[in-house]
Amino acid sequence: MTRYVIGRLGGVVVILLAVCLFTYLIFFKLSPDPAVMICGKTCTPDRIDSIRDVLGLNQPLLTQFWEFLRGIVAGRDYGTVHCSAPCLGYSFQTNESVWNMLTTRLPVSITVAVGAAVLWLLAGVAGGLISAIKQGTWWDRSAMALALTGVSVPNYVLALVLQYVLVVKLQVLPFPAAPAFADNPVLWFESYLMPWTVLAVGYACLYARLTRANVIDTLAENFLRTARAKGLSRPLILRRHALRPALTPITTIFGMDFAGLLGGALITETVFGLNGIGKLAADSIAKNDQPVIMAVTLLAAFFVVVGNVVVDLVYTALDPRVRVTSS
């Protein structure tokens, strides 16, 4: 088992390196010369040269890439400026350390992702479960019709409608501002409520449908008949024998969805003006701020790849049949 985990982590490093190289090539080599961009309007060939020198752009590509990697692990120097350990460079736009930009914004994205995940899991799984148990009833049909609609409503439409109704018209919620939790818990909660909901709706609908299908399949299994034949109570049968087999495959999907969200919810964050990774990505792309683009891409890749490993490990723990049993 330990060997398996180590092997998987080795795989993670390799994939991340590949992603690094790939993004590096695309963003630094195929896009406009960064030196020109940084230099701005009042530019002379001299200045461009000195900027190229500081950024190391005159060196061979592989050396540059190597410097970039080394910067992440050991820090690097740009001329006289030292950029310490996890160094991802400086923004071309604001000159801020990219690492600092990430760390200040990540909590916002995590808050958004966790809150939304809690909501959609609760709503999706509960809804799907009830639908499956009451299969074919009025409840089931309307819930599933709703879920089908919910999946197809675009995020930004929902966001704008909610914002208009709740904030502008009814004024029951403040305009989202991402305050710190410690300062004002109520305001914090109110601010995040809309982003959470908007993000959760689509997923919840999807998960409701998945859960329903899985539970219905499980209810038809022979082992469920055995559980009934033993005279177990219905709640116990559902909780123990139906739910676990039905939900285990969903954890895999959940892990991937959640990992994807940690890398930033682009649309939701932008619409609600939340300063998370998603908004950072959107802004940096709009302004062609290459170091930042590079960093958010890497961060997203990191979450997805690590998420993948975590999901596999969790699945192995949940399904006895795939636990490694042979020596």
Partner: protein, 276 residues
Amino acid sequence: MTLLRVRDLSKQFVIRGQGGLLARKASFTAVDQVSFDVALGETLAIVGESGSGKSTTARIAARLLDPTSGSVEFEGEDISRATGKDLARFRNDVQVVFQDPFSSLNPRYTVERIVTAPLTYQGIAPKGGRRAFTRELMERVGLNPDHSQRYPAQFSGGQAQRIGIARALAVNPKLVICDEAVSALDVSIQAQVIKLLMRLQRESGFSYIFIAHDLAVVRQLSHRVAVMSKGRIVELGSRDQVFGEPRDEYTKTLLAAVPRINPEWDRRRRLSKGRS
């Protein structure tokens, strides 16, 4: 000619040692130094104690499980090294009929889809179309061909078992591993299926590894018999030798324990048949 060659096969399963989670891992030897050959057109029966490693051996031979040590060669090639095209061919040439029918059939597929899936993967269109192909196969194993659009859950245990047999025969394999493949069939259908298997052997040279507990059936259709107990083959010989002059103590116990229909009742029935 030797089709399958199994040498010194062993399989150990990791088991929890005594003393909770942190206990040192122990291992249990389910298959212990097993060697045998299956010739082209031959039926090798494996009989023996419940839990003696028959299914495990079969699963390793079909490369559904990796052995701890030992080798399996199919047509002279080590199957553990087969990849890509070779592996696909091996998977086609060696078919398994599993011991627990329902768990080996996809509950979401109709019989037609289950039976023709291996052909579909290979891009082969059965002549006469899928429907006719499935119907014919179903008829051969004694199933009602009108049920080709039903799902596994809509069949009885013995019927599901026959779907498994039909699936194995659909792709014209060279070796069929039958793990208790006829145990859930009534004796008349069983006889029909056994006749079918034997005819395919005569006509197309199929080889079989036939795992069964019903020694009377084994005696009907096997050329050679391997007797397993506690992971080992304790006796391997021609059918007549194993049934006629068993050498091993376990084989003798086994043969002695075969239940028989009350001979007195049998005799009276035969007599009454003569009368009526």
